[in-house]
Amino acid sequence: MPIVWRIHFCLFFLFLPGKVEAASLQEYQNPKDFIQESFLTEVPKAKYIWIKSEVRKDVERILGHRYHQLRVRYWSKGPISTWILEEIGKEEYITFGVTINSGLVQNAKVLVYREIRGGEIVRKAFTHQFLNSKINSKHKLNVRIHGISGATLSVRAMTKIVRMALYLDQVIQKKS
């Protein structure tokens, strides 16, 4: 091996970390902080919505697959509700935070990203597209989301989760 390549090798390994840390660190915002951010005053007590009968059918239609959760926790006060939801991108669960205010998306973020590729969806340039969007009677968004090449599955996951949050908000608002 020519000397120049040996130098390349040595330089390369200089950049490597001493040890791999124990926990995944791709947490962009702690879910607790996201919930806090959604309510200007005190955070209301968490409630559960059970995913059963018609609600389950609709949720599974939105996600395009079976939903393994029996219930979903949320925080709600007046017209505002906040949801911490997870969906698989390619192989791993992505944790999203979605806040709905009067049936419109007030905030939508990627909180924890665990996939090896496709991390571009955390960019505000992407997530800001969801702001003020709503769903129609078929639970489809009223805006067309610009995708990201190479992050198709992550983009799809976030779009579904935003639709699901908007739908669940409609269910709880009807009940109250």
């Binding site: 091996m1 020519p2 120049v4 390549w5 390349h8 090798f9 390369f12 950049f15 490597l16 970390p17 791999v20 840390e21 124990a22 926990a23 995944s24 660190l25 791709q26 962009y28 559960y48 395009g64 393994h68 959760q69 029996l70 219930r71 390619k90 192989e91 990203y113 665990r114 090896i116 590729r117 991390g119 571009e120 955390v122 960019r123 505000k124 340039a125 992407f126 800001h128 597209q129 067309r144 610009h146 995708g147 990201i148 090449s149 190479g150 198709t152 799809r156």
Partner: protein, 398 residues
Amino acid sequence: MFSKKKILKLGLGLGLLLGGQSWAASSALDKKVEQLQREIDALKGQIKENTEMLNETASAMEKGGGSYSKSLWDKLSIGGYGELHYNNLDGEGGASDKKEMDFHRFVLFFGYKYSDTIRFVSEFELEHAIAGESKNGEVELEQAYIDFNYSGAHHVKTGVFLMPVGIINETHEPPTFFGVERNPVEKNIIPATWWEGGVALNGDFPNSFSYDFALSSGLNTTSGKNYKIRDGRQKISNAEANDLAVTGRIKWNGVRGLELALTYQNQGDVTQGNDSTAGGADLIETHLIWMYRGFTLKALYASWDLDGTGPQAVGADEQKGFYIEPSYHINEQFGIFARFNQYDNQAGDNTGSEKELLSIGFNYWPHEDVVLKFDIENQDNEGGQNQDGFNIGVGYQF
């Protein structure tokens, strides 16, 4: 006849009797109410207990119940994609016809998660349906690496991995691109699909850019193949590694719907020291992807510069190409596209080796992971050896 006194006594007696009965009835009612209250309290307690038990059960189920099979499947991941192609092309100017049906690619992904930060990723491919001696196909290991997520969105991986270059080299599942066949520019110039063994760093800075840096095995081209880059892929099969390659890429997605990328690679010696008339080489690739509502524009340029008199003698010292592809998604299920490609693996001389290909067609997605494709292609090669006609394809991913 009854005396007044008797009547009074009788009335008093009757009153006492009736009064006593009413008091007795009221007392029984009270007892009943008390009993009902006790039952309601008991039911309330039962409901509370049941709700608690239900929540506990739901929590336990949502956590996976700790069963072995669940935890194993949590760690293992399986995916795949495939595509069947039908080509119906007529040859002209001496070019042969191409009328064939081919299960071009059948791919399986297997992954294993050792921990939250250490993962195994692999891609196993069967090309052209059957492999073996005198068969058309190949069985290929295109990816097999260990990824370490060492900090935030920063990774280091080692093993066999796809080179960080171009648009389709790393993402080539059929539902993600237009056209039955992949574009010829990335195929013949980059050359996609291109994988090497080595070690690579990649990472992402939120709201700015992502980067890749790789130190890997290199190409091994030959004068017999006119130093064509695509024929230099060693596919990590007893690959000669006298001279390695360094690759760097920077990608920017700072504006909604826009991706700009630039890759540079340096090869120590593209013949691995086997040809003294050849030497090092540099690749520059850049592309743009712009998505606006249903409209997408993709444009890519790639260029190789090979050192040495050997490549220069056949014009292979310069190998370059570009394509531009506008497309429009009419709705979620249907999209149309046009793609103009131009490339030349011997652009360093005037031998007329430039090739052009225009494709126009559509994709129909009956499901977001299943695609049916159709396109018409028109070639314009120097010398007039063209194959024109149409292609039909079906592809899937899971």
